[in-house]
């Protein structure tokens, strides 16, 4: 038996099952977006669901909104994580507690976090009550469901920071002290050491963090539903709306689902490439 075939056969029971299920789901969503597996009538291979969606403002708005939230959240989370990681590179008094606190959000369910935030920032929430009590504001300020999505972005960064933190600390910890000393010895100050040594040596971890956070944030339902602006939809909330009781448009929902997957894939590729280019440029200047 040829070696390649043997390897495939050996992998089949485990990997095969996973692949089959995954491809089945992907295929099903894809097929449904073209009118197959139709729950509301006869199966009919058609482009009409896509065409319908393309003429729908809400679809484009949701795509744009999800893209915006995902790009900003991923960029911010990584931008916040980098300095923290470098600061906590060497242990000091209290550093263990600090890095535990940074990782803690990973263990808090997103829905709980979103409700906590709402409690804090709502019209009669903690922040408003407190600021009125100490006399900074004389009447409550509306912060909930802000139209720029700051609450969602804040929640995303808070929730996803641990991921970036873990990936980047692994990469930064792998840089030997002596290599950084060597750069310093040859005249590189803090910023030069970062862009010429730390950045190129951790660029893969940064790409991984950005991609994972981007995909997570692009597919967000919870934060959007709880803390998002009422006039906006994310792709996920829009998808549920289509599928839900008022529309029952499974094919339309499938179109949105496939769009979300394409957004994740393209976003990842673009992000990875951009990071590579930016890192190279920063090494040069």
């Amino acid at each position: 038996m040829p070696n390649g075939l043997r390897i495939i056969l050996l992998l089949t029971p485990g990997l095969g099952l996973v692949m089959t299920l995954m491809i089945w789901v992907l295929y099903r969503a894809f097929a449904q977006s073209f009118g197959l597996y139709n729950f509301n009538g006869d199966d009919l291979l058609t482009l009409s669901h896509w065409q319908g969606m393309f003429q729908n403002r809400r679809y484009w708005n949701a795509l744009e909104w999800s893209g915006y939230i995902a790009v900003v959240s991923a960029t911010l989370a990584v931008a916040v994580a980098y300095p923290l990681v470098i600061w906590l590179r060497r242990p000091f008094k209290g550093s263990f507690l600090l890095s535990a606190l940074i990782k803690a959000p990973y263990f808090v369910p997103g829905l709980v976090a979103a409700f906590l935030l709402i409690n804090v920032i709502s019209y009669h929430g903690f922040v408003n009550e407190f600021l009125i009590w100490i006399g900074v504001w004389d009447q409550p300020v509306r912060m909930q469901n802000d139209k720029n999505g700051y609450a969602i972005i804040g929640l995303q960064v808070w929730k996803q920071l641990p991921l970036a933190f873990l990936l980047l600390s692994g990469a930064v910890a792998a840089i030997p002290d002596n290599v950084l000393h060597a750069a310093q010895d040859l005249g590189a100050g803090t910023w030069d050491r970062f862009r010429k040594v730390v950045l190129p040596m951790t660029v893969t971890a940064m790409q991984a963090s950005l991609i994972l956070i981007f995909i997570g944030a692009a597919g967000d339902f919870t934060f959007q539903a709880v803390a998002g602006p009422t006039r906006e939809n994310s792709l996920a909330t829009l998808m549920v709306t289509y599928q839900g009781a008022s529309y029952s448009d499974w094919n339309g929902a499938a179109v949105i689902g496939v769009t979300l997957m394409v957004l994740s894939l393209l976003g990842s590729i673009v992000f990875a490439a951009l990071v590579q280019i930016v890192a190279k440029l920063m090494e040069r200047v």
Partner: protein, 344 residues
């Protein structure tokens, strides 16, 4: 080229004192060695000179100017690390060019420095390789070229040859020394290998337990050790203790002439190769190993053993009684008589 002055430096890590009261000065263009057993504080002292560590006390002066609070990137030093510390993401050429680029040296000048150094180090053919594609010896030479490319006034070497095999070690050792003569930089060279220290240095500073125990020209350190530790650490040494009467010490092997008339308890030391066959002393051969250029002989008498290195064309049999002598001026009185020398 700069000179270096280290004054009363102390380095504590918590309760542990890695260096205490270290003072030394190196004049411009000299090659000095910090020699000592592993853990005696050599790397710590280099890190203080380079600026990676702040001494808990004392000061470092380069060219008469205090640099104790100057950041490493602003000091005129370049370190050649024990672990090479090459940039793994840069190829050989870019590793060497890192320093000149950082110091905004003109492009053409950088280019010429890099290519000169790479050809001097025999690395021309490897300039586009990444460090992990090189052998240990090649990486070592890249590290050396990288340090020299900034044309530093003061080069700090941290055991740069410790990862090379014996033959390469000799080769790179003489490369370093001739480059130093050619470029004229001041060099502080750290090693735990006494042969290396003796062969390369203008001056040797011997450290033990965070203190300088003796310093001087290689010959003085070798032939005039001040303490039992120095005598033992540098080469092989024969030691005897006892009173000196009328210019001689009584040893199990016979009377040993000493350049001092009378002393109560004292310790003397002489080198195995200072002995010559024929003389007032004698012992029984317990082993004799032919080493090519010399014969390594161990003699015993009354339970004591000494070592002689005599010309390789001599034949001695185990069990044979041999008489020998040691010239008076090669027998040194060493300062400490205590046998439990602290050895951190």
């Amino acid at each position: 080229m700069p000179d270096l002055d280290i004054r009363n430096v102390e380095m504590r890590f918590g309760g542990f004192c890695a260096l205490s009261d270290v003072s030394l000065s190196v004049s411009s263009g000299k090659f000095i060695t910090l020699l000592g057993p592993s853990g005696c504080g050599k790397t710590t002292l280099l890190n203080i000179i380079a600026g990676f560590l702040h001494p808990t006390q004392g000061s470092v002066l380069i060219n008469g100017k205090g640099v104790t609070s100057l950041r490493p990137e602003n000091r005129d030093t370049a370190m050649c690390f024990q672990s090479y510390a090459l940039f793994p993401h840069l190829n050989v050429h870019d590793n060497v060019a890192f320093g000149p680029r950082q110091k905004r040296v003109a492009r053409a000048e950088t280019q010429s420095r890099v290519s000169t150094l790479l050809s001097q180090m025999g690395l021309d053919l490897h300039s586009t390789k990444l460090p992990n594609a090189l052998s240990g010896g090649q990486q070592q030479r890249v590290a050396l070229a990288r340090a020299l490319a900034v044309e530093p006034g003061l080069v700090l070497f941290d055991e740069p040859l410790s990862n090379l095999d014996a033959k390469l070690r000799d080769q790179v050792r003489s490369e370093i020394r001739s480059l130093q003569r050619e470029l004229g930089f001041t060099a502080v060279y750290v090693t735990h290998d006494q042969a290396e220290a003796l062969a390369m240095s203008d001056e040797v500073f011997l450290l033990n337990g965070g203190r300088i125990v003796q310093s001087g020209k290689p010959r003085d350190i070798y032939f005039k050790p001040k303490t039992r530790f120095v005598a033992d650490f540098i080469g092989a040494a024969n030691l005897h203790s006892g009173p000196i009467n009328s210019g001689a010490m009584t040893t199990p092997f016979g009377p040993l002439s000493v350049d001092s008339p009378n002393l109560s308890m004292s310790t003397v030391c002489w080198r195995p190769e200072s002995a010559a066959l024929g003389g007032p002393l004698s012992g029984v051969v317990s082993s004799a190993a032919f080493q090519g250029s010399y014969l390594d002989v161990f003699l015993t008498k009354d339970g004591e053993t000494i070592r002689l290195q005599i010309s390789g064309d001599q034949h001695l049999e185990v069990g044979q009684t041999v008489s020998f002598g040691v010239p008076r001026d090669r027998v040194v009185i060493i300062e400490d008589t205590d046998t439990g020398q602290a050895n951190a």
